[in-house]
Assembly symmetry: C2
Homo-oligomer: 152 residues x 2
Amino acid sequence: MPKTTFKASAHLQEGVQVIARSRNFEFIIDEPQSLGGTDTGMNPVEAVLAALGACQAIVARVYAKKFDIQFDDLWVEVEGDLDTDGFMNISDVRRGYSEIRYNIHIATDASREQVSKFIEFIENTCPVGDTIANPVSLKLNEIVIERLNLKA
Amino acid sequence: MPKTTFKASAHLQEGVQVIARSRNFEFIIDEPQSLGGTDTGMNPVEAVLAALGACQAIVARVYAKKFDIQFDDLWVEVEGDLDTDGFMNISDVRRGYSEIRYNIHIATDASREQVSKFIEFIENTCPVGDTIANPVSLKLNEIVIERLNLKA
């Protein structure tokens, strides 16, 4: 399946709680109380970091054999700097992340040099990493105004 | 909390299944069988689309009053084009999304003109949208090699 169109949806609930869906899967997105939410799930910018780490972990699994690396455990810690004054519309700073950093933990007997080459490949091959690091064309396709059914 | 550092982690499980966590929240990320997974959750690139839609929905909720817009329902459909030959490392195409499109559904009695201005603001204010549309500095902070505790 080379050229693929992936899909997801987000349905606003009470307050800023959202049900995020893709295919038959869903998870709750919300904001902490400090950002006006009810704290029932991670928020959208945290979900982006989680997706980045997951993407790197999956690339690691898929390409470990090619790099002749065996590992017993692997996890990624991701953090990103974001100035919430942008979202609050009280400053001209960029709205999104300015920088995202990650630590990759791997339980292996492989040499550091071998692991470094492997990780470099992972960084270059991860689709979420490329999506975040480089510009992507975002387009509003359609605004659908659902007229309310007024009761008679 | 203007300058904030958000955090998340991703822990690889069996195969390409990952537990994605942020604060005390988690969700499962996996791949469909067609991409080598066991299909127990959305995949990382779907999670990114979900986070984008959720972010737009949250911005809508937060700024509706400022734009004097009342709505009874709002949801976002997001889709993105990605050539999986990049991830499979069999082509030089970019690894991530080339284009992402969305439809915004809103149940409101407001005029189309008023809604259009509101949506334009949402697009410009959404932190995940900015993170995807514009370059972000991604940095490998540290590779931590967890040496295995060999049994005696």
